[in-house]
C-alpha cells in the first residue's frame, strides 16, 4: 500500500482572535502510522477535529483520495472513509458492548429504516463481533458499556471506529488515563492495527510514539515544527527544546 491518502494544504483555524492553527501543509501516505505530538495547546486536537469534520478550517483545503472535503458535514466523513476515536472516552454507556459497535456498523448502510427488524441484519452483528474480537472484547459483548473498565472502554471506542472499515483511522490519545498494564495492551493492539491500516495518532507518551510510529509530526503554537522519522525527530534540536526535554520522564 502506498500513495497519498490525505493532503492538508495551508490549514488554519482561528477562534475569534486566537489562532489555533496556521498554515499546516502536510500529506499522509496510505499504510503508515503517523503520530502528531506537541505540548498542550499546540493545536493537535484542533487539527484532529478538522481532519474528522467536527470543525471546519478557517483557511486551507483538505483532500482525501483526491476529493475535497471542505464543507462536508461531519457525519459524511465516516462514509468517505475517515473514522475517529476521542481523547475523552466517548461511547454509548447504556447500550451493550455489542450494540455499541453494531450501531456504528449500521451507520454505513441503514439509517432511516423504521420497518425491518434490526435483529435480521445479521451481517452487521457479525461485523460488530469481528471488530470486538480485534480489540479483545468479544467475551464482554453482552455487558453494558458503562460497566467496562476504563481501558476496555478505550478499546471499545477503537472497535466503534474500526467497524466502519475506515481507510484512515484517527486516534486521539488512545492511552489517556491508562495505567501501565492497560497501556501495554493498547500498544499491542495499535501494533496489530498498524500492520494493515493508515493510522493517525495523537499521543503524549513519548516512548510509545517513538516505538510505534513510522513518521512523527510536531506541532507547536499551531504551526508545524518538524516532520520526519522518529530518529530525526529525536535528534531535532528545536523539538528537543520545546517538547522532548521537558517530558523525558513522561513515559
Amino acid at each position: 500500500m502506498s500513495g497519498e491518502l490525505l493532503r492538508a494544504e495551508g490549514i488554519g483555524k482561528r477562534f475569534g482572535g486566537f489562532v489555533a492553527l496556521e498554515g499546516i501543509t502536510v500529506s499522509f501516505e496510505a499504510g503508515q502510522l503517523t503520530s502528531i505530538i506537541g505540548p498542550n495547546g499546540a493545536g493537535k486536537s484542533t487539527f484532529f477535529n478538522i481532519l474528522s469534520g467536527a470543525l471546519s478550517p478557517s483557511s486551507g483545503t483538505l483532500h482525501f483520495k483526491g476529493c475535497e472535503l471542505n464543507g462536508l458535514p461531519q457525519h459524511r466523513f465516516v462514509h468517505r472513509g475517515i473514522s475517529r476515536s476521542y481523547q475523552i472516552t466517548n461511547i454509548f454507556p447504556d447500550l451493550t458492548v455489542h450494540e455499541n459497535v453494531r450501531v456504528a456498523a449500521q451507520a454505513l448502510s441503514v439509517r432511516y429504516d423504521v420497518w425491518r427488524n434490526r435483529a435480521r441484519l445479521a451481517e452487521l452483528g457479525a461485523r460488530a463481533d469481528t471488530a470486538l474480537h480485534a480489540v479483545g472484547l468479544l467475551d464482554r459483548r453482552g455487558e453494558l458499556a458503562k460497566f467496562l473498565a476504563h481501558g476496555q472502554q478505550r478499546a471499545l471506542e477503537i472497535a466503534i471506529a474500526l467497524v466502519s472499515e475506515p481507510e484512515l483511522l484517527l486516534l486521539d490519545e488512545p492511552t489517556a488515563g491508562m495505567g501501565p498494564e492497560e497501556t501495554k495492551d493498547m500498544v499491542a493492539l495499535l501494533e496489530r492495527l498498524a500492520d494493515r491500516r493508515t493510522i493517525l495518532l495523537v499521543e503524549h507518551k513519548m516512548k510509545m510514539v517513538l516505538g510505534l510510529s513510522r513518521r512523527i509530526l510536531v506541532l507547536h503554537h499551531g504551526r508545524l515544527l518538524a516532520d520526519g522519522a522518529p530518529d530525526e525527530i529525536r535528534s531535532n534540536p528545536e523539538v528537543r527544546r520545546v517538547y522532548l526535554g521537558q517530558s523525558e520522564g513522561y513515559g
Binding site: 457525519h75 466517548n90 450501531v103 439509517r111 432511516y112 427488524n117 453482552g142
Partner: protein, 332 residues
C-alpha cells in the same frame, strides 16, 4: 413453595415479556388493554387510559427513547382531534378517512415544528416546542369559524360505525372501547416495530451520545426530525380517538398544560418502557379521579405525588416494577 415459585415465575415472564424486544410485548399489552374495562373502576376511565396511553406512548418515543424533552406534544394530540372532528363535521368524511387525514395533517405539522425545533438542543428545544405548540393553541383559538374557538369543536357525532358490513352502535361504551382499542393495538404494534427497527437503534444511540452518533455517520438532525414526526403521528392518533370518543374537542387539549400532563404521565409510568405510558396514564387519571372527589385542589396533591416520584422512583411505576422483579432480562 412450588406453587409460589411457579407464580413468581409466571409474573416474571409476563413482566419480562412485556418489555422485552419481540412481538409478544405487543400481544401482552393488547391482552391487558382488552381486560382493562374490568380492571378499572369505570369504563369511562378505561377509555381515557386507552386514549392517553396512546398519546403518551407516542411521546415516549421522543422523550424516553430519544431523550428529547418536548413541551409541545399537545399540538399533535390536539391537531389529530381537531382534524378528525373538522373532517367529519364540516366535510362529511367517513370516520376512518377522517382519522387517516388527521394523522397525515398532524405528521405534516410535526414536520414543520420539528424542522425548527430539532435545530436546538436541551432547554432551548423544550422552549421552542412549547412556544410553537402555544402558537397552534392560539391559531385554534382565533380560527373560531373552523375550530369553534373557545367553546371547542362541536357538531360531529359518530354514533354508528360500520366495520366490514357490521353495524356497531358506537354510543355503547364497551363497543366504543373496543373499536378504539383497535387503534391502540395498531399504535402499539407500530411503536414496537419502530423500536425493533434499525432506526430504533439510531435514536437510542442519539440519546446515549449525540456526538458519538454523529461521528459514527448518522445525520443527527435528520434522525431527530424523523422521530419527531413518528412521535407526533402516534400522539395524533390518540387525538383522533379522543375526538371519536367525546364527539367534541375541547380547546384545552392544545394548551401547554396538556403537554405538561403528558410529560407527567410518561414519568409516572416509566419513560423508556414499552407499556409504561399506559400505566402512567392510568395512574394519573386514577389519582385525578380519586383526589378530586374530596378536594377541588387535586392538582396540588397530584403535583406532590409527582415530585415524590421524580425524587424516589425516577423510573416510574412500570420501570421500577420491571427492575425490582428479579427478571433475568437481557438488556440490549
Amino acid at each position: 413453595m412450588t406453587a409460589q415459585s411457579n407464580r413468581a415465575a409466571a409474573t416474571k415472564s409476563v413482566f419480562g415479556a412485556l418489555d422485552r424486544f419481540g412481538d409478544q410485548r405487543v400481544l401482552l399489552s393488547i391482552a391487558i388493554l382488552i381486560a382493562l374495562p374490568w380492571l378499572l373502576p369505570s369504563q369511562a376511565l378505561a377509555v381515557n387510559v386507552l386514549i392517553y396511553g396512546v398519546v403518551v406512548m407516542g411521546y415516549n418515543l421522543l422523550f424516553g427513547y430519544t431523550g428529547l424533552l418536548s413541551f409541545g406534544q399537545a399540538a399533535f394530540f390536539g391537531c389529530g382531534a381537531y382534524v378528525t372532528g373538522i373532517a367529519i363535521g364540516r366535510y362529511g368524511m367517513p370516520w376512518f378517512a377522517a382519522v387517516a387525514s388527521a394523522v397525515v395533517v398532524s405528521t405534516i405539522l410535526a414536520a414543520v415544528i420539528g424542522v425548527i425545533s430539532t435545530r436546538t438542543r436541551g432547554i432551548y428545544f423544550s422552549m421552542v416546542t412549547l412556544a410553537l405548540a402555544q402558537l397552534v393553541y392560539y391559531v385554534a383559538l382565533q380560527a373560531s369559524s373552523f375550530t369553534g374557538g373557545e367553546n371547542g369543536l362541536r357538531g360531529f357525532t359518530v354514533d354508528r360505525i360500520s366495520l366490514f358490513g357490521l353495524q356497531i352502535n358506537f354510543l355503547d361504551p364497551l363497543n366504543k372501547y373496543y373499536v378504539l382499542m383497535v387503534f391502540a393495538a395498531a399504535a402499539l404494534w407500530f411503536q414496537s416495530r419502530i423500536l425493533n427497527s434499525p432506526f430504533g437503534a439510531v435514536i437510542e444511540a442519539i440519546r446515549e451520545n449525540e456526538q458519538r452518533a454523529r461521528a459514527c455517520g448518522y445525520d443527527v438532525e435528520r434522525s431527530k426530525l424523523l422521530v419527531f414526526m413518528l412521535s407526533g403521528s402516534i400522539s395524533a392518533l390518540g387525538g383522533c380517538m379522543l375526538a371519536l370518543h367525546l364527539s367534541i374537542v375541547p380547546l384545552d387539549i392544545l394548551h401547554y398544560q396538556t403537554s405538561g400532563m403528558i410529560v407527567m404521565m410518561v414519568l409516572l409510568g416509566g419513560a423508556r418502557s414499552f407499556f409504561g405510558p399506559f400505566v402512567g396514564a392510568a395512574a394519573f387519571l386514577i389519582l385525578e379521579d380519586v383526589i378530586s372527589l374530596w378536594t377541588p385542589h387535586w392538582q396540588i396533591f397530584v403535583g406532590a405525588i409527582f415530585i415524590l416520584f421524580v425524587l424516589f422512583l425516577p423510573k416510574g411505576i412500570w420501570g421500577t416494577l420491571l427492575e425490582t422483579l428479579p427478571i433475568a432480562r437481557p438488556r440490549r
